[in-house]
């Protein structure tokens, strides 16, 4: 057996000569590019160094006064509320969407492929647009209303969830499905007795992960004026109140960590 064939069989390519030299050249090019790029103004803008020092110092003394903590709590609640309502809209789209993407209810193979591929494409296009862009779009249509924020999260998240959950429903072992087919179960019955129970742990994990993303997205969306942690963060940064900014960032971290812990508990119960 020749060397080439051997390498192809084990999936390892022979190490090309001069690879180290190439790495050095590329590394040098990147370093040079960075240095040249920042030449006129330097890495930080004027006074940036001072600001950095202040920001770093205020980490140790976040604003924990009761009055401000009350504001932070209200802002966090508002951000979570946006995330929850946004995820509700997303799930209203994703549950039927996932079933359509999975093709689990369609008997005819050609029809199943067409519907599944079409739905996949549609959801793919919807999720290609970032939630911030959706937010600006709805802001123009609906004005600065909570609904704009909710839809901005709900639509792209619904599309993403529909695609991913649809794949979870699709990729289920063949044997249990076949067993129910021979027992005379309909496609709906196969969905609820086999596909959903087997995929539920993974589906839940993904929904929980998306919920975390939704909280972050809601915080970011509130920069555009919808209220919540992000909005408070802009105000604090404008006032150069870094101690307050740190409190808000801490609140965001705590919120996300709490969701992570809670979803982990539920996931362990679901995992067989």
């Amino acid at each position: 057996m020749t060397r080439a064939v051997e390498h192809r069989l084990v999936g390892v390519r022979p190490r090309p000569r001069g690879r180290t030299a190439l790495s050095v050249i590329l590394f040098g090019a990147v370093a040079l590019a960075i240095l040249r790029l920042d030449h006129p103004t330097g890495l930080l803008h004027q006074g940036g160094g001072q600001a950095l020092a202040r920001i770093a110092r205020s980490v140790l003394s976040p604003d924990l006064s009761p009055a401000f903590l009350a504001i932070v709590a209200a802002a966090a609640m508002l951000t979570i509320a946006y995330a929850v309502t946004g995820m509700t809209v997303a799930l209203l789209i994703a549950i039927p969407g996932a079933i359509i993407v999975s093709g689990a209810l369609i008997d005819d193979r050609a029809v199943r492929w067409t519907v599944s591929t079409g739905a996949r494409g549609l959801f793919g296009a919807l999720r290609a647009i970032h939630e911030l862009v959706w937010a600006l779009l709805f802001l123009t249509i609906l004005g600065l209303t909570p609904l704009a924020g909710v839809l901005a999260i709900g639509i792209p998240y619904g599309a993403t969830l529909a695609r991913v959950l649809g794949e979870h429903l699709q990729n289920v072992p063949r044997e249990p499905l076949e067993a129910l087919v021979t027992a005379g179960a309909s496609r709906w019955q196969q969905l609820v007795y086999v596909r959903v129970p087997i995929a539920s742990a993974n589906m839940f994990a993904y929904v929980a992960y998306r919920f975390e993303c939704a909280v972050r997205a809601a915080a970011v969306l509130s920069f555009i004026g919808l209220g919540g942690i992000g909005y408070r963060l802009t105000l604090s940064l404008h006032d150069l109140r870094f101690d307050r900014a740190w409190t808000l960032i801490g609140a965001l971290v705590v919120t996300i960590a709490a969701i992570d812990v809670a979803s982990g508990r539920v996931r362990r119960r679901l995992t067989a």
């Binding site: 076949e178 609820v192 007795y193």
Partner: protein, 269 residues
């Protein structure tokens, strides 16, 4: 329900082709109603393909299969098949995340509407049918446990319970004991045979072990390379016949009948 001498299966010259591989080669056989038949033969002999054809899961490339006088293909099309044939495949086909109860009652889905299926899945309603079947296979103490928490033998029994709830006239069982130790394998086959006889069902199973097949089944069909090598009452199956099926070289002319070498294999009564 059927006269004892009625035919369950009438298989005529069935071939199954998977690409270049011929899994079954012009198999012709009949199985009487209420019979107990074991398909024996080495791995790759076509036992699983045979059972899948009989179950209507796999369509033969050539030939036809009649079940109680009706064409299998028509029975499948009209949805009459689940009441007539139940298949227990070799690989675990339960839903591990659900309880034994939910898995066992899934055998009734062919008779239930969607609403009833959902209620039975989501609400803790008692299901006497599923409980009785679970008791018959001997794991009633596991009724409300998740299948993933059950042992291999218990899962095997749960799959059998689901088949009992489905209540077909023919039970097709693929390698039911391949993952069990000898004592448990013997016990499970005994149970399978007893349950099948009690209800007057026809039982067709595939087995690696010819000893177990002879002990628990009335008739043995030896398969090799997709062909029927022998088809005999289990008391008439000699070691020489088995050797034709299991030997590693190509089949030759029947060898001399060797003296009984396996002391423990008493022929079935």
């Amino acid at each position: 329900m059927t006269a004892p001498d009625a035919l369950a299966y009438d298989v005529r010259s069935v071939s199954v082709q998977h690409g270049d591989v011929r899994a079954l080669d012009r198999v012709t056989l009949t199985v009487g109603s209420g019979a107990s038949v074991a398909l024996v033969g080495p791995s790759g002999a076509g036992k699983t393909s045979m059972l899948r054809v009989l179950a209507g899961v796999l369509s033969p490339t050539r030939g036809c299969v009649q079940l109680f006088g009706a064409d299998l293909h028509d029975l499948r099309r009209t949805g009459a098949l689940p009441a007539m044939v139940g298949l227990m495949p070799q690989r675990l086909d339960l839903v591990p995340q659900l309880t034994v109860k939910h898995n066992v009652q899934a055998g009734a889905l062919g008779r239930w509407g969607l609403f009833r299926s959902l209620v039975a899945l989501l609400l803790p309603v008692e299901n006497p049918l599923a409980r009785a079947a679970t008791a018959r296979v001997g794991i009633e103490n596991r009724f409300l446990q998740r299948v993933s928490d059950c042992s291999g033998g218990e899962q095997q029994r749960a799959a059998l319970g689901r088949l009992l709830v489905q209540d077909p006239r023919v039970l097709l069982v693929d390698e039911p004991v391949s993952s069990l130790d000898p004592a448990r394998a013997d016990q499970l086959l005994g149970l399978l045979r007893r349950l099948s006889d009690e209800d007057g069902r026809t039982l067709i199973a595939s087995l690696h072990s010819p000893e177990l097949a002879r002990r628990h089944f009335d008739r043995l069909i030896g398969l090799r390379d997709g062909r029927v090598v022998f088809d005999a009452r289990s008391s008439e199956v000699t070691d020489a016949l088995l050797e034709q099926v299991y030997e590693l070289t190509a089949p030759r002319e029947p060898v001399q009948v060797a003296p009984e070498r396996r002391g423990g294999s008493a022929p079935a009564g």
